[in-house]
């Protein structure tokens, strides 16, 4: 009996058993590493000194500056949720889209996309929209299952639309540039938003009773919606126009920003008489300012060359602090609670990383990497077969373990196979990233499901929440197919000096 060859599969088996015990993941992972480490030493499979790599590996985690994105975006997300900013936006967008059938759902998708572009974590979006939009949708007769689903789906946009902790961690684990990852994520992000919109319209046409329009008495600004929408569109056009003009004139980053602001300011002056007589437009403009400021801070500062993608998360924290203070929502309790929550999350996430680095060290020690490579590259179907296997595996793992565990434990092993087959790591990471959206929505361990259950009104049954997510999981899988088939355009976009 060749015990040596049995070690890697035995380690997997032990890992599953240890994890199922319910003891914290970080230490269960570490324990498998330790147990098999001692076993390997006793059986003379590798020298005891190999475990001496642990301090070096921990030091590698400590000095990995990209991981700073985890506390930054978590802190920003919690502050954002407490700042009341999402509330205002959802409220106005609800009024704006209110007269349409499915309008509230459309506003949720829209706000989800906006929040997605400001924050890098899903939790903030789920909680904000679950607290604010879900009660409103239920009050006006929305189907609770569909209402839950649209909130869940829209909230997960936070992880595929840059900035995103998921994309940063994937880029880091695969050794590709964060900037390239962000650019590659643009096509799937837009495709997901578009599909959500289309799905809402489809539901409005086929199941009108699920998504009733707001009654007239719920709309104090009835009749102002259409002109307001046109006014907002005009802002979009002016904004894009000023941006293109700046590009055309080759203005430096900060001047271009100023020029865009100037354009929007002049347009506001021009519309001023109209804004005065239209309270809905006023409200819409005011509620759009804070998210635009945040988007500028977390994406704009990277684009104008002020901050690295990691530092942009810190810029977002400062922005969220200021906005919460301006909204008079920043108390000591709120701040301390946000910091404490962030510290705990950072500790548990990085400890999983430490546990998994101990596991993977011993796994390599018993030549588990060779075993995985042999197993993965031995899969039938070459590249297609491998990708199919990885996608199914990641999807299934998403039911049981969360995104961080998949990224830290499974991804490095899966990358071995991708390397062996010569698959582009950026594209591979993007496929995994799009796939991982589903892990937030699949029971029993979808984080988004937990968060929504926590904030949803009692009359929404847990089954509604679980089942409501299914259509959106299917839409996300559709986007996954799209990423698979649009490999060339996506990679061209990511690798081009886009904007230069």
């Amino acid at each position: 009996m060749d015990l040596y060859a049995l070690m890697p599969p035995l380690m997997f088996l032990a890992l599953i058993l240890f994890l199922l015990s319910g003891y914290p993941v970080a230490f269960s992972l570490g324990a498998v590493g330790m147990v098999f480490g001692f076993l390997g030493i006793a059986l003379d499979l590798f020298p005891a000194s190999l475990l001496g790599a642990m301090p070096d590996r921990i030091f590698g985690i400590m000095s990995n500056q990209l991981l700073l994105a985890i506390p930054f975006f978590t802190l920003m997300g919690i502050l954002l949720e407490k700042s009341g900013l999402a509330e205002d936006l959802l409220d106005t967008m609800g009024r704006l889209f209110g007269p349409l059938r499915g309008g509230l759902a459309l506003s949720v998708v829209f706000v989800g996309a906006i929040l997605g572009a400001t924050t890098g974590v899903v939790a903030a979006s789920v909680m904000a929209m679950g607290l604010i939009s879900l009660p409103v949708m239920l009050k006006y007769g929305y189907n609770p299952r569909f209402a839950s689903g649209v909130i869940l789906g829209s909230a997960t946009l936070a992880q595929i639309i840059p900035p995103s902790v998921v994309l940063i961690v994937l880029a880091d684990q695969l050794g590709v540039s964060v900037g390239d990852m962000y650019k590659a994520a643009l096509i799937p992000s837009l495709a997901t938003v578009l599909l959500y919109f289309l799905y809402v319209i489809y539901v409005a046409l086929v199941h009108p009773r699920w998504v009733p329009a707001l009654p007239k008495e719920a709309r104090p600004e009835a009749g102002k919606e259409l002109p307001t929408a046109f006014a907002l569109l005009s802002y979009l056009l002016v904004g894009v126009g000023s941006w293109r003009l700046g590009e055309f004139l080759h203005l430096p980053g900060w001047l271009e920003g100023l020029e865009i602001l100037l354009g929007l300011g002049l347009w506001t002056l021009f519309l001023l008489p109209w804004i005065r007589t239209n309270p809905l437009l006023r409200k819409a403009l005011l509620s759009m300012v804070p998210p635009l400021v945040l988007i500028f801070l977390v994406l704009g500062t990277v684009l104008i060359g002020l901050a690295t993608p990691t530092e942009a998360g810190a810029m977002g924290v400062v922005g969220a602090l200021v906005l919460a203070a301006l909204n008079r929502r920043l108390s000591f309790q709120v701040l301390y609670g946000a910091m404490e929550g962030t510290a705990k999350l950072t500790a548990f996430v990085v400890f999983i990383l430490i546990g998994s680095t101990l596991f993977s060290l011993v796994f390599r020690g018993v030549d588990g990497d060779l075993w995985v490579e042999g197993f993965l590259t031995g899969l039938p179907g070459g590249e297609v077969g491998y990708i199919l296997f990885v996608m199914v595996l990641v999807f299934l793992l998403g039911f049981f373990i969360d995104f961080f565990e998949i990224a830290f434990i499974a991804l490095p092993l899966l990358a071995i196979g991708a390397d062996a087959l010569g698959i582009d790591k950026l594209w591979f990471g993007l496929l995994v990233g799009v796939n991982l959206q589903t892990s937030f929505l699949t029971p029993p361990f979808g984080f988004a499901l937990f968060y929504l259950r926590n904030v949803a009104p009692k009359e929404v049954r847990t089954a509604d929440i679980y089942l409501g997510g299914i259509p959106f999981i299917l839409l996300q899988l559709l986007v996954l197919l799209l990423v698979y088939f649009l490999r060339e355009p996506i990679l061209n976009m990511a690798y081009s000096g886009f904007g230069q």
Partner: protein, 180 residues
């Protein structure tokens, strides 16, 4: 048992105190990082010291926060089965897990990182990059923080055993409150 519970309380006070300091680092590191970006962009002024201070603070947060997270039961579990067990069974799992999983890992890492950190201290290791910070203090943090984690593990162990022997009605008053 009374002595052990006293020990556990003392450890809890230590972990809580360290944790409360660490919590503020979260804000501090964000402000430092944003300040870094702004100074570099606006004034072309920066130093590797500031860049390294960021990850030093990040390291302090998770290394020292590990024990704090353990005290507050914030380390994530796969609770597929765990949640369905009785409080007693859960306590047993935690006892076994602490003795067989957590303590060996923490003690093992102290053992492994001690000579490594001492070596850095003995040569007063610096950053290899211009303007960078001394490396030895942050390397010393590694065995120290796993020591803190092992202590907190001991405290949790005492509390679970006290619960199982009936000396404590609950090992985690705050958690019970949340459930109630």
């Amino acid at each position: 048992m009374r002595f052990l519970l006293g020990l556990s309380r003392a450890i809890d006070v230590l972990t809580e105190g360290v944790g409360r300091l660490v919590v503020w680092l979260v804000l501090l590191v964000a402000l430092l990082s944003a300040g870094n970006a702004i100074l570099r962009y606006g004034f072309s002024y920066s130093s590797n010291a500031y860049l390294e201070a960021q990850w030093y603070m990040f390291s302090l947060i998770f290394l020292l926060g590990g024990a704090y997270a353990l005290k507050h039961n914030a380390h994530v579990r796969i609770d597929l089965l765990y949640d369905r067990f009785s409080r007693r069974t859960q306590a047993w799992i935690d006892v076994v897990g602490t003795v067989l999983f957590l303590l060996p890992m923490a003690l093992g890492l102290i053992y492994l990182s001690w000579p490594w950190a001492m070596n850095s201290l003995s040569i007063r290791e610096m950053s290899p990059d211009v303007g960078g910070l001394p490396r030895w203090p942050i390397k010393l943090l590694v065995p120290f923080s796993f020591g803190l984690l092992a202590l907190q593990g001991l405290s949790e162990l005492i509390k679970r055993i006290a619960f199982l022997t009936g000396a404590l009605p609950s090992w985690s008053p705050e958690e019970e409150e949340e459930v109630a």
